[in-house]
């Protein structure tokens, strides 16, 4: 069940670290495959999903909920893909999409700008262009995180460890992460497995509802699924049909309640 998410800026050696960690711990590695799978499952082009998880919402997207819909698809797919555990995920926003789940070691790799620029230049770009691209990319990530999760990617409290790769070699960072992952706090427990199942149910329910009802909130606790919607939404036949089908298809759901007129709790999906 152990899971490691590695967040990094472009050209911060995060990919190399993730691959070595996965090889050392004999874990599977996951990054772009997530978008392929989410695209296949929800019939959305991979490019669209990539844009949704990378670029900050534009002026029109703020009102059309498209980002919200695609992120719900990506999140539901990610939760299902990591359910088996023993995975290193180094794609975008893993530390945010997997939320407050236990047993997830959230790592951030940082590097100084000059080394990142040099890395980008190795691809044949001029220094100025390389610098502009790296800064623009970091700016998009900062705006995306701020708009979607109201957080700052540079906030160290979002992670369990932040490693500055300049001071260490890739192998040192790998050793450090592997050592941390073997700690007791990241060992899978029954409670941890239950929380995964609950989050998976909540995310999948949200993914089904989000296209027609983007403001719906879903929580799942011990198999009890609570859906927060407005009075108007809850009484539409489409809403009822989705909920009924979802309940029939998922035998893990112990009880399903629809709450109307209540404010959505902060921990809702």
């Amino acid at each position: 069940m152990a899971l490691i998410t590695i967040s990094r800026g472009s050209f911060s050696m995060g990919k190399a670290v993730a691959e070595k960690v996965a090889a050392k711990l004999k874990y599977s590695i996951l990054s772009r495959d997530l978008l392929f799978k989410a695209g296949d499952r929800f019939h959305v082009p991979q490019k669209t999903l990539e844009k949704a998880i990378h670029d900050a919402p534009g002026i029109f997207e703020r009102y059309s909920h498209t980002k919200k819909i695609f992120i719900a698809y990506i999140r539901a797919t990610l939760i299902d893909m990591v359910a088996g555990g023993n995975i290193v995920y180094y794609g975008l926003a893993g530390h945010l999409l997997l939320g407050r789940l236990p047993c997830v070691l959230k790592v951030r790799i940082i590097a100084n700008l000059e080394d990142r620029v040099a890395g980008r230049m190795a691809g044949g770009l001029s220094e100025q262009k390389a610098r502009t691209m790296i800064l623009a990319d970091a700016d998009q990530r900062r705006k995306w995180t701020k708009k979607i999760y109201n957080a700052d990617p540079n906030d160290a409290t979002l992670y369990d460890i932040v490693i500055c790769i300049d001071k260490f070699s890739v192998d040192d960072a790998v050793d450090f992460i592997c050592q941390s992952a073997s700690r007791k706090a990241f060992e899978p427990t029954n409670d941890c497995i239950k929380q995964y199942r609950d989050l998976s149910l909540a995310c999948n329910a949200k993914a089904l509802l989000v296209e027609s009802f983007p403001d719906v909130g879903v929580i799942c606790e011990y198999g009890n699924l609570l859906v927060y919607a407005t009075e108007k939404e809850a009484h539409t036949s489409k809403f009822k049909k989705i909920i009924e089908t979802f309940q029939k298809e998922n035998c893990d759901i112990y009880n399903l309640e629809v709450h109307t007129g209540l404010s959505i709790p902060a921990n809702a999906v």
Binding site: N154, D155, A156, D160, I161, C164, K167, D172, Q179, A185
Partner: protein
């Protein structure tokens, strides 16, 4: 030999971890107890020195800006001088803010691990009150570090490693950091020792100058000290002479260079008189 600098808002756990690492590796400890030594060395009021490390300059708090910067320079000079001895674990002296990139110095930030409010005080507080106090403490620390060194203390880019204590035990952190200190990359090299020596020299010169002057920035490289200062044009030669005279008292300077900038604001204000 490597130096470990720890920084945290949770002083209780920081102390515990730092002391355990120092004991584990048989390193010397450099912590808030060093303030009394600094106060004695520079003949300062130790209570005021402690205050200077926590508050920003304010007339109302009886800490004028000039005095505040001088007190900070005393701590900086004292700590950097001691760090040259190597094999040291340093915490509680804001060293992470003035020891920049030195390859044999590992800077670690410890975050989380509950919060910095003592358990006895927390009993009578609601969670909202606790959150408010923590946010206020964080804001005040950020304000202090920005005013003193123009750096955000909580920014992860300032450290080589940030460890969240929420999910790990103290002994696990101690073990991990003790192992990390043995990495070959953290061994002291001639270049990194020279780098730290230059910083210590610059801090000493700055300390001597700030005793009587303001608006001075000091840098050092391979024993060459560059002092940059700002003043009105009519005070230029007097200020440069004073800097040369005062800095000349410090041992270890190979060559001294003074760069002068015109204080445009004061010049403009005076021209209306």
């Amino acid at each position: 030999m490597p130096v470990l600098i720890l920084s945290s808002e949770n002083q209780e756990r920081e102390n515990e971890i730092a002391q355990a690492i120092a004991q584990n590796l048989e390193y010397t400890s450099l912590n808030h107890e060093f303030f009394s030594e600094i106060a004695h060395k520079y003949t300062l009021d130790s209570k005021k020195l402690m205050d200077a490390m926590n508050i920003t300059p304010s007339i109302l708090k009886r800490m004028p800006s000039k005095q505040w910067y001088y007190y900070l320079s005393c701590v900086e000079a004292g700590v950097l001088d001691r760090l040259l001895e190597d094999n040291c674990v340093c915490w509680g002296l804001a060293a992470h803010l003035y020891v920049a990139v030195v390859s044999h110095v590992l800077k670690v930030r410890l975050i989380g691990g509950h919060d910095s409010i003592p358990r006895s005080d927390k009993r009578n507080m609601t969670p909202d009150e606790i959150k408010k106090i923590i946010a206020e403490q964080e804001r005040s620390r950020e304000n202090w570090s920005m005013t003193a060194y123009n750096r955000k203390e909580a920014h992860p880019g300032l450290y080589d490693m940030v460890i969240n204590l929420d999910q790990v035990q103290t002994d696990e952190v101690v073990e991990t950091l003790s192992t990390t200190m043995g990495y070959p990359r953290l061994k002291a090299m001639t270049y990194s020792i020279n780098n730290l020596t230059d910083r210590a020299l610059a801090a000493k010169v700055k300390n001597v100058l700030l005793k009587s002057l303001t608006d001075v920035q000091v840098e050092a490289q391979n024993g060459t000290v560059v002092v940059t200062t700002t003043s009105m044009k009519r005070a230029k030669s007097k200020k440069i002479d004073t800097i040369k005279k005062l800095a000349g008292q410090v041992d270890g300077i190979g060559y001294l260079e003074v760069h002068w900038n015109k204080d445009m604001l004061t010049e403009a204000a005076m021209s209306y008189r």
